[in-house]
């Protein structure tokens, strides 16, 4: 959401310090921002493009003074959605929801609230709803960038790649920048054009201002290098990501991944232990378990942690079928993997879900049913070693040896460093 300098008054204005201290929580559960060290006369500092936390604090302060500012509520809600993305902390979603609802109540149909609600739906993996809301936002403001960004993400997850590409093109026509270049990079990668994917990330990097965005661009430059077998190049990019944002967990995991694929399993296990200690996302726990196994150690504790997490999530009504489809297929019950994969594919028929379903069916001994999904998973041209390896295995089981050789060659060509023994390390979104 571009605002002109002065419109940043929608967030960037000054209040008397007295107003800061007189603050009941705006949102239930919201702590009053600390005001220690606030100078005497000023301050809702200008919202900077650099610090999300600073933006949230400034908006919160402003809204305490001006609870009728629907634009600031929309900005606050959108900032919470971003906070959830960066911290992997879903407790920001309810806060986002409330702030966006306030904006919508104050100014029904305003595009900024709709954009925020669309981004929130996408964050919560309700991509169909995200598309619906983003389209409403687009109708209210055809020049809005946020709506196109959400459309691109949601269509990608729904496997509607042509529509995703069109949304990215439109976003690029509206405002070339971090949001459009990063999405254009992923789009190119999915089409198998690594050169364009790298170039687009370099443009995104040149445009990035906030440490989090710089780290994001560096990290995915690292991922591109890693998936093409360039481990030193990947490690360097992860290092630069961490230089920009020292607690950027994906890059910490990246350095562990690069060490493991380079055969330095003990070092990798140590790094994973630190990552999982800091942020026990299922993806990282599974990678850690696989690295422990490869190092001849017992991953049982990691698998137990995962299953506990799954129970916890289930009790909370949370579904992340993709993670469990992949985990069960590689390390657990094939039948359960198929159930999860079918559920995921029914909701989000994208190439990653198609691969998960193909692999689960293969593990369950149902190769004939698996093959169409394996073909679908490799149909976009994405140079993803794991997808081609899975297809090769399925073709081999069906006695399609020429096809299988071709698929195996594609896997090797995509990533000479690919290791079938560390499948989770080859999974990347």
């Amino acid at each position: 959401m571009k605002t002109s300098a002065k419109a940043r008054l929608a967030a960037g204005v000054l209040a008397l310090a007295a107003a800061l201290t007189a603050g009941a929580a705006l949102i239930p559960g919201e702590r009053t921002p600390p005001v220690a060290g606030a100078p005497l006369q000023l301050v809702e500092t200008p919202v900077s493009a650099v610090s999300l936390a600073g933006a949230i604090q400034a908006l919160t302060t402003r809204l305490r003074r001006l609870p009728g500012d629907h634009q600031a509520w929309a900005q606050l809600g959108s900032a919470y959605v971003q906070q959830a993305r960066l911290s992997a902390d879903p407790s920001f979603y309810p806060k986002a929801e409330q702030a966006l609802a306030r904006s919508a109540a104050l100014s029904p149909g305003n595009f900024a609230a709709l954009t925020g609600q669309a981004a929130l739906a996408a964050g919560r993996h309700d991509f169909t709803e995200a598309v619906r809301l983003a389209k409403l936002s687009q109708a209210a403001n055809p020049y809005g960038q946020g709506a196109q960004a959400v459309l691109a993400d949601a269509y990608t997850q729904l496997g509607r790649y042509g529509e995703a590409t069109r949304a990215i093109d439109r976003l690029m026509e509206l405002h070339p920048g971090v949001a459009s270049f990063t999405r254009a990079s992923y789009d190119a990668e999915l089409r198998g054009d690594r050169t364009a994917a790298r170039r687009m990330l370099e443009h995104a990097l040149a445009d990035a201002v906030s440490p989090a965005d710089i780290a994001y661009c560096r990290h995915y430059l690292g991922e591109l290098a890693l998936r093409s077998g360039d481990l030193p190049g990947a490690t360097e990019q992860y290092r630069l990501a961490l230089q920009a944002a020292p607690d950027f967990a994906p890059a910490l995991a990246g350095t562990a991944r690069a060490a493991a694929l380079d055969g330095r399993l003990d070092e990798a296990a140590g790094r994973y232990a630190a990552v999982v200690g800091r942020l026990p996302l299922a993806q990282y726990v599974i990678e850690y378990g696989e690295v422990l196994s490869a190092a001849g150690k017992d991953p049982a504790e990691q698998w137990a942690l995962l299953r506990a997490q799954r129970e916890l999530m289930k009790a909370a009504g949370v579904g992340d079928d993709l993670t469990w489809a992949e985990f069960e297929a590689d390390h657990g019950s094939a039948a359960r993997a198929v159930d999860h994969a079918e559920a995921e594919y029914a909701r989000n028929p994208n190439v990653v879900a198609a691969d998960a379903l193909a692999w689960a069916l293969h593990r369950d001994g149902r190769d004939r049913q698996a093959l169409p999904y394996a073909r679908k998973a490799t149909a976009t041209g994405w140079r993803n070693a794991l997808l081609h390896h899975h297809r090769a295995e399925i073709e081999r089981s069906l006695g399609l040896s020429a096809e299988s050789k071709k698929s195996a060659a594609r896997a090797r060509d995509a990533d000479p460093a690919f290791s079938p023994d560390l499948p989770a390390l080859a999974r990347f979104s």
Partner: protein, 460 residues
Amino acid sequence: MELRINRRALIGIGVAGALTASSFALLRAETGVASSHREAPMIAGDPRNDNTDVYAFVSPDRPDTVTLMANFIPFEEPNGGPNFYQFDTDSRYNIKIDSDGDAKPDTVYQWTFRNEDKRGTATFLYDNGPITSLNDKNLLFRQRYTLKKITHNGTRTLVEDGVVAPSNTGAASMPDYGSLRTQSIKALPGGGKAFAGQADEAFFADLRVFDLLYGGNLSEVGQDTLKGYNVHSLALQVPKDEVALKGDAGRNPVIGVWSTVDKWSPKGYVQVSRLGQPLVNEVVVPAGLKDAFNALPPYQDADVAAVVKRVTHPEVPRLLAAIYGLKAPRTPRADLAEIFLTGIAKTNGPIKADLNSQGLNKDAGKLRPSEMLRLNMAIAPAAEPDRLGVLAGDLQGFPNGRRLGDDVIDIALQAMAGAAQSGKLVDALAAGDKVNQNDKPLGTRFPYIPLPGDTSVNES
């Protein structure tokens, strides 16, 4: 970064991970963050490509010339980061001029930038010792610019290798910042001057005045919201004839001025920012149209009914009426359409003056309504400029062009309340935002805008 999972629940099922505790209730019905879903950054601010203000005025010390200025990068905190307070090297920064009134540019001054970075990987520092001149070896990072003039006759390079006056990193490293500013000013062929560099944010205002739009009131104003911040400024001083229709400022003294930024994309440059008159984005263009306004050329303004309607049926007067018990002028506001869209001329609407419409030019063609800052260069500089400009009888000021000292907030409030049409200031609004001048005195020579500050804004 922490994933919040209830520790006790985990221990309860026999696992103790290194997990941070938080409210389990908040996790309810939340999908954690799936590993399989790449979430790219959403739209963030783009300060390097953000136009803050445009100025255009007959130069007070050289009345045969006109000074044009466009500022960018709002709210630069002094000492806050020379590393990203820079012009965007992938963008084109433009000041555009429409001399004949068809809403299309007849002259474009275009800046592009490149970095000269000698820091290597060893240091982030901007300088490694005192900087006594622009080409001092101690200055490890500088931006250079190319300035082109584009007209119907083609493109001409005016400055090949200009140096952007650096961010002011304080007295220790830049003991005489003024000399760096002076050295950065380039002479142009034909007698003009050019400047690019950091400067004080000369716009003064209590921006809380706009809280009117959200149920605020004017009781809490009187503080210069922009005091102490810096911006990045692009300025030109050129002979009037150089920008006048047919090169003749005597016959055709009125020009329309606006500034744009075009960003590079794989499919060509994209206009991402546009600014003419001050406050248009705040008080005229509604939120849902701001993005469109930034993307459109002035030529298309007249076709966007919603923008035109906001000029003729504005919201601010209704709010002022409600707060001050003023009578809001009757709509449609033909006076505001003159100020914002056609320029002021007796033939254009109710304001009884021939002031600053391109239609007043002797060789003018058909006038197309569009939003831009219009300046009549024939009006000589005021001996004693009045901050209220035209409304106070000082015809050299806003909305006839815009000088650095014009109090555009107070002028805009008065104009919204009908002062331009009635010719009388509205007493109830006499105080306006209670901020009447910049905290730093303006310069007497080009580029007039004060030197950038080096004291942190929030230092008490």
